[in-house]
C-alpha cells in the first residue's frame, strides 16, 4: 500500500519534472515544478521525514517558487514568444548526455548501504514514536551546531548580496 502510494507520487514528480523542462512558457515551467515539489513533500512523509516535508512545502513550494514567479512576472516573461528550447542538435546532445547519466545512475536502484553503518532494526520505529521533529532537532543543535550557525551567516550574506545586486543605485 505504502509502496503504491510512493510510486504514485514518484510518477507525479517525474511527470512534473518532464513537463517543467519542456514547457515553452516560464510560468508553466514554474507551476509544474511546484507540482514536483509537492509530490516530493508527500514522498518525504512516506519516508518518515515529516519535518522535512513541512519545510519542503514552506521553503521550496512557498518561498523559493514565489520568488521565481515574482521575477518572471517582474521581467514580463509570461507572454508567448519565440521558444527558448534549443534546436534538434541541442535536443540530441541533451538527450545523449542525460541518457548516459541515467544509465550510470541506474546502479543506484540496486544500492544497499553496508550493514555495519545501518541503524538496528526498530530504531526508526522508536524515533517515530518520539516524534521526528525532536529526532532531527537533536543532532541539528548538537553535532551540527557550528554548520547551523554558519548557515545564518550565509543567509545574511545572501540578503546583502541580493540587495546590492538588484538595487539600481546604493
Amino acid at each position: 500500500m505504502t509502496l503504491s502510494f510512493f510510486w504514485t507520487f514518484g510518477v507525479i514528480a517525474m511527470a512534473g519534472g518532464l513537463l517543467c523542462i519542456t514547457r515553452k512558457n516560464p510560468i508553466g515551467s514554474a507551476l509544474w515544478l511546484v507540482v514536483t515539489l509537492f509530490a516530493l513533500a508527500a514522498m518525504y512523509v512516506l519516508l518518515d521525514a515529516q519535518f522535512i516535508a513541512a519545510l519542503q512545502v514552506l521553503v521550496y513550494a512557498g518561498a523559493i517558487m514565489v520568488l521565481f514567479l515574482f521575477v518572471i512576472m517582474l521581467l514580463n516573461l509570461g507572454h508567448p514568444g519565440p521558444t527558448d528550447i534549443k534546436g534538434p542538435v541541442g535536443i540530441g546532445i541533451a538527450a545523449l548526455l542525460a541518457g548516459t547519466l541515467l544509465l550510470q545512475l541506474r546502479v543506484l536502484g540496486q544500492a544497499t548501504p553496508p550493514a555495519a553503518i545501518q541503524l538496528p532494526d526498530g530504531a526508526m520505529a522508536t524515533l517515530q514514536q518520539q516524534g521526528m521533529v525532536a529526532a532531527v532537532a537533536g543532532p541539528l543543535f548538537d553535532v551540527y551546531l557550528i554548520p547551523f550557525e554558519i548557515t545564518s551567516l550565509l543567509l545574511l550574506a545572501a540578503i546583502v548580496g541580493a540587495v546590492v545586486l538588484a538595487k539600481r543605485k546604493l
Binding site: 510512493f6 514528480a13 517525474m14 519534472g17 523542462i21 516560464p26 515551467s29 514554474a30 515544478l33 516530493l40 514522498m43 518525504y44 512516506l46 519516508l47 521525514a49 522535512i52 519542503q56 521553503v59 521550496y60 518561498a63 523559493i64 520568488l67 521565481f68 521575477v71 521581467l75 516573461l77 527558448d84 528550447i85 534549443k86 541541442g90 541533451a94 548526455l97 542525460a98 541518457g99 547519466l101 541515467l102 545512475l105 543506484l108 536502484g109 544500492a111 548501504p113 545501518q118 541503524l119 526508526m124 521526528m132 532531527v136 537533536g138 543532532p139 541539528l140 553535532v143 551540527y144 554548520p147 548557515t151 550565509l154 543567509l155 545572501a158 548580496g161 541580493a162 546590492v164 545586486l165
Partner: protein, 98 residues
C-alpha cells in the same frame, strides 16, 4: 522497503534537471532545473536517512538553506543582467566573451 524506488525516482529527477539545463536557453528556467537537481539529491538524503539515521535529514535542512540563498542571489543577478541586456536568453548574454 522504499529505498530502491526512492533512489530510482531521484536518479530520474536528477537526469531531468541535467537535461533541462542542457536543453533551455532561458536563464530562469535553467535556474529552476538546478533546483530540480537539488531536490533529487534531497530525496536521496531522506531515503538513506531512513536506514542510516537522521543525519541525512539534517543535511537536507542545510541544502534547503543553501538553495534559498542561491535562489535569492541568482535571481538578483538575473535582474541585474536583464537591466543591461533587456533579455534573459543566454544566447544573447555574452559579456564575458573575449
Amino acid at each position: 522497503m522504499l529505498l530502491g524506488p526512492a533512489l530510482v525516482i531521484s536518479a530520474v529527477l536528477f537526469t531531468l534537471g541535467v537535461a533541462g539545463v542542457l536543453l533551455r536557453r532561458n536563464a530562469i528556467v535553467i535556474f529552476m532545473c538546478v533546483e530540480l537537481m537539488l531536490n533529487a539529491v534531497n530525496l536521496t538524503f531522506v531515503a538513506l536517512a531512513q536506514r542510516l539515521g537522521v543525519g541525512g535529514q539534517v543535511f537536507v535542512f542545510f541544502v534547503m538553506a543553501v538553495a534559498a540563498a542561491e535562489a535569492a542571489v541568482g535571481l538578483a543577478i538575473i535582474l541585474a543582467v536583464y537591466r543591461h541586456k533587456q533579455t534573459v536568453n543566454l544566447q544573447n548574454i555574452n559579456i564575458l566573451k573575449g
